[in-house]
Assembly symmetry: C2
Homo-oligomer: 517 residues x 2
């Protein structure tokens, strides 16, 4: 046997190549099976790799390629997201090595074992997640571990703080920066697009950032986008807000609490939902957006996200606890989530409802108008100069006088009006009552699903238009709602689902009494 | 608006194409971004897809391709594993659609909420996993949920049964089918290759199936493969066993408890380890292999998997409880896991030690010999004709007389002797004592890691050869062990790790007293 004197050899260098595959929120790297470094280390060792050149460094999951047309032996391929994140040109010499599991997985394993975590643990975890050191499996482990034994209130506070610190933070340099949020689950519930112009017309600062829909048929950002540009870079958002005291923008460009977006990509497909994660997710976004006062809408109903009043009360206290300690003034309002709000479900249809309310059209949906006035009234009372109990009347006055409409049009112009006027999808079908009676129940969840299958929110005109609401009398054959789609395949999916379960029940009387709020 | 009459259109058909990418235990499908079906449904809806043609159907994760050279708009690409699993020719027309989350995820969510699961739940989960309906994220959720609140004994029993039923089952039609298993963690602990020929030479049936190394530097299958073929299809395994009363084969070809292999691919990178999962994993494999009597080796030591005697005792009772209820006779033996067994760590080096013991060479490692005799003696006593307490002497007699060697050579011939004689890796370096003293501690974990970095088990000749064991006196500069590698890059990795922490401590006396077993 010969004795080999070890030389300090540099790690093998490979030529960077972009592989035109979109792996959606997971960094993937491709190595040719004949590549020497792969042969030396093998799959198990290399299932997660670090790719580095100078100060650039990313982590990625490894796929092994047997076709040199995709990636050759001397090359390292990166899927689109990973390539963009590394930020280097094709052909750059990069080194690749085994990626150690993220150190903060130790904390996750302690959480799995039932131990409460400290602020430093949550900071380490969110940092590692933002830096793409976590695989989706590892994120799932964190989410399940913190969902199951449940985070205690202190841990939710720590997690919120760590998530807030994980990204950028907007600063408005004013003592009152108003915000609102609904925990979701109610289709058509597009109140922000009414509340923001009312509040801004009064003069209160309300720079609203919203998300796009993830599991719902329309988010505020998707709906506003029917009317105006919403992907405003931070500088432009500031310009709009300086001019109009408000905006209705997509929050994604501002990099607010980015760890939240990453976790959601795992949480949603798993269908796991923990109160602690929800509170941290919402409040970290609001804190990062620079809000000082937040009105939180928790709808309760048999097919809403929150089904019982006691659950809503527990959630309210959790929000208040964390908000108080992080310097965010929170008021929680528990609302009736028994059925969809307004008529339209889907971006174009919901934008139509919003504009009808702003125009004070007689056929505008009154439930949407009432709810928006109630929320706007509460937000107006954040203003120390507004006397308690008078907010609703002020809001109604602003809406009825057309000042809210004028403000909305000004915001649309400032953000950039959409040139093309979007129409509801041209493929339509009416779903009809199977018998005489009254509409006794409408399933929020099923209506969302039908609207999504019809193509919402991707196809702006797709969705569902409700022609009857709870308590309305119907005769057999009367139309209950109309499906709109833009593509035949989607149309068929939605049609088939509505055929299996229309989401409406026709009975003698309304089945649930709602909250009588 | 026009009313569109829905036609019952078939789902869009795409031409199947094999994409030469190995995605390692995860089915991945590729759709071109311009493909109509992708445009209609989008990423969120399609992140998990079902691909079907006739009765063939698989589930896969979706990646979106922007390069028609990889996959064109009218094509559906499948990565190698998914393509093989679907089992259809390139060019076949296949349909693709949204894959609903597996129904059994409801049970996982109930487990996350802390509910105990029933046999039917575990059956549904393992069925869905084997049919590739679970993403790695979903498997991680299941593993964390069943690791954290912990499975109770009944649940472990149910999981074991469900895992056993998830694959094929070998049947030997004899009342005594002996098996042994070590829970692992001790490098060099290659006793099966001694126990099997001893027991078979006595006449007891011992058709041993083993795994390849996952996180260790060598599994029994990797080491046996140095000497003989191990990937025997079930028919050939039966032929070998009929002739020699034993085999030493890789269990992978027999599809025993396949759900276990899938879960391990998630469990290991996460570094989560639950006793319940371990018990179910081991016992389901043994039951599927048709074993009736099992000797279980639990090594205990400060750097072993099990670190305290009380933990070993708890584990023993768990194994006994599940074994008793599933008709598998289990005896548990708790052994000294304070340091590696034998000298070699890595397939070639361990095979060399095994053959030295079988040849009764004076320099053969005595600890390996003693441990193998002890285990073999206990297994021989499973035979009703062997008087209690005489097993060890019978085993020693079989080994000393050369009958064990003859049986091993016969098994090697029956399985197919390796033509090429494998040598230890030619790149070598000796790690030396930093001062005078005695070897006071050897870290099992660190020695495994150095051997793995050197290339074991992929490179058969790579590994570590221990030249000193616990309690041996050394002078400064004496060699402690020798690293063997086949490739310079691996050699450097191993060398650097050993330089940072050699895994040996030199002191005044041995630090731990072991178990004095």
């Amino acid at each position: 046997m010969t004795t080999h004197k070890s030389r300090r050899r540099p790690r093998q260098r490979l030529k960077l190549r972009r592989v035109a595959i979109d792996t959606y929120r997971e960094n993937v790297a491709y190595l040719n099976r004949e590549c020497e470094i792969y042969r030396a280390e093998g799959f198990q060792a290399l299932s997660k790799v670090t790719i580095a050149a100078d100060s650039h460094r990313i982590h990625a999951l490894l796929n092994v390629v047997d076709d040199p047309a995709i990636v050759g032996p001397g090359e390292l391929g990166l899927a689109e997201q990973a390539f963009d994140q590394l930020g280097l040109a094709e052909g750059t010499a990069v080194s690749v090595g085994h990626a150690e599991p993220p150190i903060s997985m130790d904390a996750v394993r302690r959480k799995i074992a039932g131990e409460p975590l400290k602020l430093e643990d949550f900071r380490a975890i969110t940092r590692d997640i933002v830096e793409n050191r976590y695989s989706k499996m590892e994120m799932a482990a964190f989410l399940v571990a913190s969902g199951q034994s449940g985070l205690d209130r202190e841990e939710i506070l720590y997690l919120t703080r760590a998530m807030t610190e994980s990204g950028e933070r907007l600063r408005w340099h004013e003592p009152l920066v108003a915000d609102k949020h609904c925990i979701g689950g109610i289709p058509g519930n597009r109140t922000s697009m009414l509340v923001v112009p009312i509040v801004a017309a009064h003069g209160t600062l309300m720079p609203k950032t919203s998300s796009r829909a993830i599991t719902s048929p329309a988010g505020t950002a998707d709906t506003m986008e029917v009317l105006a540009r919403v992907d405003l870079p931070p500088a432009e958002m500031h310009r709009v807000v300086r001019r109009e005291r408000a905006c209705l923008a997509w929050g994604g460009t501002a990099k607010l609490a980015p760890v939240d977006d990453i976790l959601i990509a795992v949480e949603r497909p798993l269908g796991i939902d923990s109160q602690g994660q929800m509170v941290a997710s919402i409040l970290s976004k609001k804190l990062a957006a620079g809000s000082t006062h937040l009105l939180l809408d928790i709808p309760v109903g048999p097919t809403a996200k929150v089904r019982h009043m006691r659950e809503a009360l527990h959630l309210r206290k959790l929000f208040e606890y964390v908000g108080d300690r992080l310097g965010l003034h929170i008021e929680v309002i528990i609302t009736d989530g028994i059925q969809p709000i307004g008529r339209g479900i889907g971006p174009v249809l919901e934008a139509r409802d919003v504009m009808a309310v702003l125009h004070n059209e007689p056929e505008a949906p009154q439930d949407l108008r009432q709810k928006a006035l109630r929320l706007a009234g509460r937000i107006l009372e954040f203003d120390p100069d507004v006397r308690g109990g008078t907010g609703y009347a002020i809001a109604r006055d602003i809406l009825d006088s057309g000042r809210a409409l004028a403000k909305m049009l000004a915001i649309i112009e400032a953000q950039g009006r959409q040139k093309r006027h979007a129409e509801p999808g041209h493929l339509t079908e009416e779903i009809r009552a199977p018998r005489d009676g009254v509409v006794s129940a409408i399933d929020n969840y099923q209506m969302s699903k039908i609207a999504r299958l019809a193509g919402a929110p991707m196809d702006k005109g797709a969705g569902v238009d409700l022609l009857r609401k709870l308590g309305d009398p119907v005769r057999k054959g009367d139309p209950l709602y109309r499906i709109h789609a833009e593509f035949p395949a989607d149309f068929d999916f939605a049609h088939n689902l509505a055929g299996r379960d229309s989401g409406y029940r026709i009975g003698e009387r309304v089945e649930e009494s709602g909250l009588n709020l």
